[in-house]
Amino acid sequence: MEFLHALLIQPFADMVMEPAFFIETLVKGLMAGVLYSLVALGFVLIFKASGVFNFAQGVMALFAALTLTGLMELLEPSGMPKALIVILAIAATIVVMILLALIIERLVLRPLVNQELIILFMATLGLSYVLEGAGDLLWGSDVKVLDIGLPTDVWDINGVFIEQLDVTAAIAAGSLVAVLAVFFTKTRIGRALRAVADDHQAALSVGISLQQIWVIVWSVAGIVALVAGIMWGSKSGVQFSLSLIALKALPVLILGGFTSIPGAIIGGLIIGVGEKIVEVFWYSVHGGAVENWFAFMLALVFLMFRPQGLFGDKIIERV
């Protein structure tokens, strides 16, 4: 009885009794969700264009952040103003990520073209090992402080605390999605990408080079990884654990669908809010640390009703 009360009544009573805290929970959930979305976005871009489930996305975020901090350290002694260093380092990191995409396409994807998806998935795993080793070998395994001048303060709005870094992340994610939307709908390359996503054969027959498309999409995913790496790394410092944020993106993916950019965003927000509310308001039922499995359970239950995810393409079976 007591258990049922804690499960079914108390949490909702709490939400009503503590509206400010409830709002703060919601806001923090949304903010966490944005950060998940940022990671999920990279997965979706690549999956959409090439059907590859890129396990290395998390390590790419780590690699990008490591490169950024490393380059900033290198530029530090030059005496240039901080802002210039940051801009230069970010630009250089973007170049590195594009180079990385080129190398990946040439050495991993091209030889594996037309292979089964699970083989490509496996190859991205091998890739994540390589990047992990290379990142550590190049830049060392220590925690590196990443400070590109993002605001770290907290706004106190009538007792609701909002971290400026989170808001920055939300703005970054929002602009990223806007830019991507423009890119996909307004540019020739973007339209080509969508053609590839819809039908590889058709895309090839109208003269779109799959190789180019892959390089572009992996570059874009690399840049998304950089943004995710900056946002997460600013909080925890840049270190190996950054690569594990990929796990946070997986429930978002199945909830939002592997192929939908809005799905990644909405899915992230749902997961973020859902897990925070359950963790906080149902604490007396479960005793904490349920976020990880709750996100997956939420996604799983959801999938039982919509196997293709929130915005995924409908699966039609035929013989």
Partner: protein, 357 residues
């Protein structure tokens, strides 16, 4: 010439359907079994047992189980770590609740518990497919690990780090610190041989064909009268049974102590999945080869780089990680169907070698 089949005629269907129809394969198997049963037990020491053979054998066992689900039945699962934990913790509970029970039964029963849990988490597979299913099985992974860490009943209200009590077989200790490497090795080897044989029987018979038909074309299979849910769940059950036993063996024999969050984390799930993809999906031999690759390659590289080349441990580790990653990619490009297929092709070449024309 080494693998010449000429002259080896099969006079009835029974002979044609045996596990190793080619004479040379029988010899090879005989040699391997002789070494495994009659040589290794006498020369094995702690290092070979704990660092090389036990990990290899246990992961082969688990890879075998996962290969049944992924390779034969086509259902990708990333819940392996969680199922291993079910095996380990249920064997701990059984073992401490019934101290008189023989360890073999304890381990078999914990395999049974894991099979039940596996069936439960296999239910969504009726509706969810492919990578969606893979990610959905992560729910099992995270939930089970959380549960074993959270609910004190599972670790007898002590530390969540559980320790295997000493147990005997035929008067020899097989678990606990005093157990001899020979006894532990033979114990695991016994499981491995028996259950490899069972797996071979299953995959070559009716049940194996029903799994493969679901994997290759589930709709056609259904129209042949194969019930998809029953078939998928049977694969989940058998697979989890193997994985659970593997988890119990890790706990009782290899490590002697485990903590769910560390020993059976998500990386274990990936580790075993990689093993079967590298080794060869849908191949019993592939499970062995993949486990050897994933479990022994790092040890081998470490020995070569650190002890051999005198490299600093961290540099060596980074290079080792990169090498393992590159090798994975290399093998996938060379032979996407895994080491088992590579062996098969080698065998086909050996039929003619050294006179290929």
């Amino acid at each position: 010439m080494l693998y010449r089949e000429t002259g080896q005629f099969k006079r009835n269907y029974a002979a044609d359907q045996q596990l190793f129809p080619i004479f040379q394969d029988k010899i090879l198997l005989g040699v391997i079994l002789t070494v495994a049963l009659a040589v290794i037990p006498f020369v094995i020491n702690d290092y070979w047992s704990k660092a090389i053979l036990l990990p290899f054998m246990v992961y082969s066992f688990i890879a075998l189980g996962l290969n049944i689900l992924v390779g034969y039945c086509g259902q990708i699962s990333l819940g392996t770590g969680g199922f291993m934990a079910v095996g380990a913790y249920s064997s701990y509970k059984l073992c401490t609740a019934f101290p008189e029970m023989n360890l073999v039964f304890v381990i078999l029963l914990s395999g049974g518990c894991t099979a039940a849990v596996g069936v439960l988490f296999g239910l969504p597979s009726l509706r969810i497919k492919g990578f969606y299913l893979a990610v959905a099985t992560l729910a099992a992974q995270f939930f089970l690990i959380w549960m074993f860490n959270k609910v004190p009943w599972f670790y007898n209200y002590e530390m969540s780090q559980i320790t295997a009590p000493p147990r005997e077989m035929f008067g020899f200790l097989v678990s606990g610190p005093q157990a001899s490497p020979t006894a532990q090795y033979l114990f695991v080897l016994g499981f491995l041989i028996v259950f490899t044989w069972i797996a071979l029987n299953l995959v070559r018979g009716r049940i194996g064909r029903s799994w493969m038909s679901i994997r290759d074309m589930d709709i056609a299979a259904e129209l042949l009268g194969i019930k998809p849910l029953k078939t998928k769940l049977s694969a989940f059950a058998v697979s989890s049974f193997y994985i659970g036993i593997g988890g119990a063996l890790i706990f009782h024999i290899w490590l002697g102590t485990v903590e769910a969050t560390e020993a059976f984390d998500i990386l274990q799930s990936f580790f075993v999945l990689f093993a079967i993809i590298i080794g060869g999906l849908g191949s019993v031999l592939g499970a062995y080869l993949g486990a050897a690759f994933m479990a022994l390659m790092p040890v081998g590289l470490k020995v070569v780089l650190v002890d051999g080349a005198g490299m600093a441990v961290d540099t060596a580790k980074h290079i080792e990680i990169m090498l393992v990653g590159s090798l994975i990619i290399f093998f996938l490009i060379k032979e996407p169907h895994g080491l088992a297929r590579m062996w098969q092709i080698t065998k086909e070449k050996l039929r003619l070698w050294p006179f290929p024309y």
